[in-house]
Amino acid sequence: MNSDLANEVRAASITGTMVAYYFICHRKLWLFAKGLNLENISGNPDVIKGRVLHESRFQRESHKEVSFDTVKIDFLHYGDQVYVHEVKKSKKFEEAHTWQLKYYIYLLQSKGVNCSSGVIHYPASMRKEEVYFSPEDQEHLEQTLAGIKAVLNERVPKKKDGRRVCSRCAYFDFCYV
């Protein structure tokens, strides 16, 4: 494991949300990282649903919301190794969520924790998806982290790209007004 990069990542304060946003929209990533978080004020129904979901599900788990470095994990599960769990509203951004979870595994590994897989829960559709962190994933993740850093170094926000994701995005009014 490239521990230099892991340290650098920590210094750049890359959060799990930022990793997910990198796969959803670079503009959203930039705005979010600069502290311009519109999720809480937009009144976007998807955001509200998501929050309620986080507050109500998996209340019984004992390791809810584990925070370390710059990330906050929904809950951990201990067996012969550690398993990371994330709760998500819909499968729409599955790729983004998968990489978010892989990033957590990566950070745990960099701390010497024995962890290489996890589960994404989609309680709304009563499904779950297992995620396994492979050696090839590590390389891809490191490229992703470098990509995130490049986005954050931009002086102005990335242009909006008018893709279909915009219409339900909490940043829509900001981008399109």
Binding site: N37, G43, P157, D173, V177
Partner: protein, 322 residues
């Protein structure tokens, strides 16, 4: 989570378990805390820190007005939105005289445009022409003071029409205290606008203390004054004209003395009701292509201002199109 609650008569506001209760004259009213985000208090109210702590937790702002309807201050929950990056940009646009002037001019031109629209509808062509000349002058101003004096000229030309529009005595703008009923209405309305803008500023990452047209030292939340300039003609002034022209507000809604005038409790109720109804009305937004509330126009303008500060797009303020 977006209702405003108004308190007009004296009483006690307190936290009762997980909700708010207003007691007055031996009666208790429970206020569902989840859908309130704004409380305006126009009369004496007993409250304690336990209540304030609860308001902070629920992200509710409390605005206090004194006996005369003057705005005295706000209790604002600790900021939740913070962006060091945006703060730096805000300061940069203040410190650089060129950049500051661009924004200051924008606020004035926006305000004058919206003022002009109020006159245009009433066919006061000569005043409209005067405003156009002033607008042209604005693009040539090199200093804030110059800009301020042009704005004052524009406003005076506008106010000179108010006696005709309303049929009420006006003479000129007087503030502390308002000299007559019309002035009292303007002061009260402007205070309502100021706090409404302030609340929207708090929901964005903008810092309300850094402003461009007004000096940041003028008032604690002077950015609110800047932005309110744009919206006052559209909301406050039009409400005043409507209330007077429809005979909804009359002389007996004021406490009038030799050199001061204030709205009575009943008068405030009438104004606030109209203000509230106006802000909740919806209109089709041309860029977003959907209906939005009038009050959301304020937030959208703040978004545009943020984009300007980020160096993305020049800010062009809301120009009333109805």
């Amino acid at each position: 989570m977006s209702r405003t609650y108004y308190v007009f008569s004296p009483g006690r506001l307190q936290r009762r378990d997980n909700t708010l209760a207003l007691e007055f004259q031996g009666e208790r009213r429970v206020i569902p805390v989840e859908d309130v985000d704004h409380i305006y208090c126009f009369s004496e109210l007993d409250l304690n820190t336990r209540l304030l702590d609860f308001l902070a937790q629920k992200q509710i702002c409390l605005h206090l007005f004194n006996h005369y309807g003057h705005y005295s201050g706000s209790f604002i929950p600790r900021e939740s939105q913070l962006s060091g990056f945006l703060l730096v940009k805000q300061v940069e646009h203040y410190l650089d005289p060129g950049k500051r002037l661009v924004l200051a001019r924008t606020f004035v031109t926006g305000a004058l445009h919206n003022i002009r629209r109020n006159l245009e509808k009433r066919e006061y062509e000569d005043t409209c022409q005067k405003l156009d000349e002033i607008k042209e002058g604005i693009s040539k101003t090199a200093f804030i003071e110059e800009l301020m004096s042009l704005e004052a000229h524009g406003r005076k030309a506008y106010y000179d029409r108010w006696e005709e529009i309303t049929g009420w005595e006006f003479s000129s703008r007087s503030k502390r205290p308002p000299g007559n009923a019309l002035n009292a209405l303007i002061s009260f309305g402007n205070a309502m606008m100021y706090t409404t803008v302030l609340k929207e500023i708090y929901r964005t990452a903008l810092n309300p203390t850094i402003s461009y047209l007004h000096e940041p030292s003028e008032r604690r939340y002077s950015l609110s004054l800047d932005v309110a300039e744009i919206f006052k003609p559209v909301f406050v002034d039009r409400i005043i004209f409507r209330l007077i022209n429809l005979g909804m507000i009359k002389e007996n809604h004021f406490d009038i003395n030799v050199n001061s005038a204030y709205l009575t409790e009943e008068g405030r109720r009438i104004f606030v009701k109209e203000f509230e109804e106006t802000m909740e009305k919806t209109i089709l937004h041309r860029n977003l292509k959907r209906n939005i509330r009038y009050k959301s126009l304020i937030r959208l303008d703040l978004y545009k201002l943020i984009k300007h500060l980020l160096g993305e797009e020049s800010y062009s303020p809301m120009k009333v199109w109805w």
